[in-house]
Amino acid sequence: MFGRSRLGGFFAGLAGLFLLLPLVAVIPFSFTPKRFLSMPDGEYSLRHYLAIFDPDTWLASIGTSTLVAILSSVIATALAAAFSIGIWLRRPASGRFLIGLVLLPIIVPPVTSAVALYFLLAQIGLLDTIPGLVLSHVVMIVPFSVIAILGALSRLDRNLELAARNLGASQLQSIFRVILPNIRFGLFAAWFVSLVMSWEESSVTLFVSGVNVITLPKRIWDNLRLDLDPAVAAISVIMIVATTLVILLRKSET
């Protein structure tokens, strides 16, 4: 009932067009038979998709990204779970403050995070190493995991924990046998969000790694800086398709 004008629809259409056009436009470029980024004229080729399977470059980076993403997401989820359960169980007077404090880093500009982590890793000698990169990613994604887990905990009945303790479970037993099983979907969501965020993290990654450790976003970045390699278009298309699939899967679940 908000106005009968068609102006809103016009803007919505235009906004959608602007948002999707570049993502769609990149698709034909990935099928060019040429060695440089260009629009294919009549001839199509999958050579740039095959190039992704080069074990020394793209495949290596995909491996690095996957390794970093798995390590960071597991550590971030564990940390976030410990933090959230701690707050949930003890309900300290400063609970709201602590939660706010943990969520606040979400607003730190990526460049500031990057400089800060670069600075820190340089001092402890972990610059351009897998552990250093994992550490950076964990710092970046913990707040998002905390949001997911706190959400799950807020729907959990407090009496469950009391009942478990009442039935003779120790605190640890009640955490592992009552609380954690009941928030498993929240934990999974937190882990999945962390995995995706680490996998696609670029702004910090570019600063703190790049010579020995090259993640997928970093390799895309390098390729664009050096020359417009059509493999970049191919890998982008794959990632767009993957994102679409994830969205469709989530839609079909609900």
Binding site: F11, G86, P109, E200
Partner: protein, 266 residues
């Protein structure tokens, strides 16, 4: 239930420590960064007393000023244009809930799901394909586009929380659609518009990846400039400018949050 029993239940110091440790872990890099921005020495590792000299250096640096100015101009224009689009889109999608709304929502928020580097690649390829030469204009266009989803979400949320019969009531009281929109819908949307604009502004101001790829030679923004400085080596000046950016973001987000809360109370 007695407090003694409750306390007994909560005794497990490990988790409290973990919670605090988690906070420390998150803040250590930023706190260290901020502290060393006040270092009197040239070194970024050895403390030589408190000083504001690096902030003075930042404010005296012509290049930083130019880059910061570019950033602000781009962010203001991008946020404003994106907010207009987002407003139209929000009205259209909340209006047309039957069928079209869901699809439109997915389209408008899709870019939030796609990895930023992919959006950057797509934008770059698009500009090259269309033949727009990279520079200030391409940065601006790219920023407008990726700001739309961020401006859209708060406006949509505000619109959805609004009583949908209000425009009907305005029409019932002889207001034309345009007048009803200006007198009723728009004033009630102001908190959503402001927080949408602020969010878009911050996102534009802070963006690095997309900006770097579509900037081309010459055009620069503050994040690009900081990246350039960092490549030349770590100096306390970098610390100072990064800390300033953090402060700006924090203030803007706090304003946005407060406005959001005021809006909800309404």
């Amino acid at each position: 239930m007695s407090t003694a029993r409750l306390r007994d239940l909560r005794v497990f110091p490990g988790f409290g420590l973990l919670s605090v440790g988690c906070v420390v872990f998150l803040y250590a890099p930023i706190v260290v960064l901020a502290i060393y921005s006040f270092n009197d020495g040239r070194s970024v590792t050895r403390w030589a007393g408190f000083s504001l000299r690096w902030y003075q250096t930042v404010f005296a640096n012509q290049n930083i000023q130019t880059a910061a100015m570019n950033s602000v101009v781009i962010a203001v224009i991008a946020a404003s244009v994106a907010t207009v689009f987002a407003l139209g889109a929000a009205i259209a999608t909340v209006n047309g809930k039957k069928g079209g709304g869901e699809g439109a929502y997915v389209v408008l928020t899709f870019p939030l799901m796609v990895p930023e580097i992919v959006t950057a690649v797509a934008s770059l390829v698009f500009f090259v394909a269309v033949g727009i030469s990279l520079g200030f204009a391409t940065i601006l266009i790219a920023h407008i586009v990726f700001c739309i989803p961020f401006a859209y979400l708060p406006i949509k949320a505000r619109l959805e929380s609004m009583d949908a019969t209000l425009p009907s009531a305005a029409a019932d009281l002889y207001a034309s659609p345009a007048k009803g929109f200006l007198r009723i819908t728009l004033p009630l949307l102001v908190p959503g518009l402001v927080s949408g604009w602020l969010l878009a502004f911050i996102i534009s101001l802070d963006d690095f990846i997309i900006t770097a790829l579509v900037a081309g030679p010459g055009a620069t923004t503050l994040p690009l400039h900081i990246y350039g400085m960092l490549r030349l080596g770590m100096t306390p000046e970098v610390n100072a400018i990064s800390t300033l950016m953090l402060a700006a973001s924090t203030v803007l987000v706090l304003i946005s949050g407060l406005l959001g809360q005021a809006g909800r109370k309404h």
